[in-house]
Point group: C2
Chain length 336, copies 2
């Protein structure tokens, strides 16, 4: 039985969508137990409306909620009875395996490090969302809040990202590349130039060199290594350009009577194609390198994303990803 | 009379499209003189096929061509008779005002600094392309090859970018923002944190704070300040995500018979809308802060982009941008 805590109070559509996502997940999989963390009265009244295997969803009361605009460090320190702190404490006490939340990114990142804690040897836990490409998905590692990384951090990101893509997403020998402003080895800023030879020397990853940002949407690499500032810019620009272009395409289709008729005919096929360009079907962004698993899903997550994130936690646990990370990092220190 | 040198050998469609672009420009504007730099025999045989005011296009012979895959520093040093070196020398000798090329970005950046030279007081000349947004265009400064910038560089970029947007693009009081991973002042990497208060203290720019990458396509700021590594990632990802999404929309439209018919009806309106999302109508990317003007246009530029870049040089000269930059920087050093 795998135990996943779901933050029932996190995200734009809480508590309804996280609760529905939890119900969907236990309906799909037998060996899952969900703990919904949040205000007990609200959660139980919502649960009563739904049908599900009663023995596999329990509630852990938490009277407080951390808002997305609260300074994260303070929020984690002060709101001891918030759904995030209560949920993460269950991971810390080994009463559950994973924590899924669509709540405050900052609080999740801080809580992951402070409450759940790092695997011994992990210098910095990266946040690693999946981004859509023409060919499927790539893992963008790191998009977290800890900027100004050192080369050794990036090497660990490359290793953890490879393990995740291979064993959770099921991609054999994932291609690892470092974000750079040219394909040649001598290009790049100081951090990239120092990191490049270290990645090249790594025996347990499939390093293919530099990747220019232009090649990311074409699926030029499977694990895209970057320090968090650049990773964050990539992630958010991806969303921004995508949203802008799709809204402009819609506008264009509504411009004339002729185009409106065309839009009706085009719509179903277009919807299917664009659905492929949506990474949320794979689940949320894992915060890797922790003693347990923390998954951050998008703030606007619906039941589907929450359910996929829960199933992702199951694969993570079954594939013993943390054991594999420990092994990979200890090999490294033994080799030095 | 404003004199612009056009690199007739640069870009995917050289020499035909640069030559056509030059002809278009002198046909549109009376006070323009174009010098086409490149292989004289090829250029003159192409020119003979076109009709234009003969006295306003001349040829400057250059027997060599710098390829896009040549290491830039070596290419500029060795190919003394290349169209780029010959063209830039005309600017250096004050025999022309500006240089436009669709050729090797690296060689143009190196040549601009080494041959044309910086305005006294400019620490680093930034490459500043215009990028399309929902609302029009924004200037992304710096996307050049010099990474690991210092705060004082970014402050100069903000000033030069503001002058350019106001006087060349014609935007009153352009909003300046620094690329960051959150809107709050305390967010960011070491460079951004150091630069933020310096920008805030600048009296001659309209600084509005941080901009997250997500807001760039929505037109969240007019002058987007960033060091070159991040700027380069933004520029290339913009192109990559745009190209991928548009190709997916096209694919979707061709999926079924129904959608194909719809596509025919939608096409004209869609084309008009997406044309608005194309910054090349404003010209190429200026390399700012030089003794003269160097404009880099996209490698796949057609006559239209070359012509627009030439007209942009005219505005640059007429609006005395370099005098304004000199003034802005000397005010700064006087104030210190």
């Amino acid at each position: 039985m795998i135990k996943v805590v779901v933050d029932a109070m996190g995200g734009d559509y809480a508590p309804l969508e996280p609760i529905k996502g939890a119900v969907d997940a236990v309906t799909k999989k037998d060996n899952l137990h969900i703990i919904l963390a949040g205000k007990e009265d609200i959660i139980s009244s919502e649960l009563q409306k739904l049908s599900y295997p009663k023995d596999r969803i329990t509630i852990q009361n938490a009277s407080e909620v951390i808002d997305t605009d609260e300074p994260p460090v303070n929020a984690i320190r002060r709101k001891k009875d918030s759904s995030i702190v209560v949920g993460m404490n269950l991971i810390k006490k080994k009463e559950a395996d994973a924590f899924v939340s669509a709540g405050s990114s900052g609080a999740i990142l801080v809580g992951g490090q402070v409450i759940v804690g790092r695997i011994k040897g992990v210098e910095r836990p990266p946040l690693a969302p999946l981004i859509p490409t023409e060919k499927g998905v790539s893992l963008l590692i790191d998009c977290g809040a800890n900027v100004d990384a050192r080369p050794s951090h990036l090497v660990q990101f490359a290793k953890m990202g490879s393990i995740y893509m291979e064993h959770v997403i099921g991609m054999k020998h994932p291609r690892v590349a470092i974000v750079n402003i040219g394909a040649e080895e001598e290009k790049g800023n100081a951090l990239v130039k120092e990191t490049f030879p270290l990645l090249k020397a790594c025996k347990d990853i499939h390093f293919i060199g530099s990747i220019e940002a232009r090649e990311i949407p074409h699926g030029g690499a499977d694990v895209i290594v970057s320090e968090a500032f650049v990773g964050n810019v990539i992630l958010k620009l991806y969303e921004g350009v995508g949203a802008t272009l799709i809204s402009m395409v819609k506008q264009g289709m509504m411009a004339t009577l002729r185009s409106k008729i065309g839009a009706l005919l085009v719509k179903p096929a277009l919807k299917d194609t664009l659905k492929a360009f949506d990474a949320s079907q794979y689940g949320g962004a894992p915060l890797l390198g922790l003693n347990g698993l923390v998954v951050k899903t998008h703030g606007n997550s619906r039941a589907r994303e929450i359910c996929n994130s829960i199933l992702q936690c199951q694969t993570f646990k079954e594939q013993q990803i943390n054991e594999k990370i420990r092994e990979s990092l200890s090999l490294e220190s033994a080799g030095e």
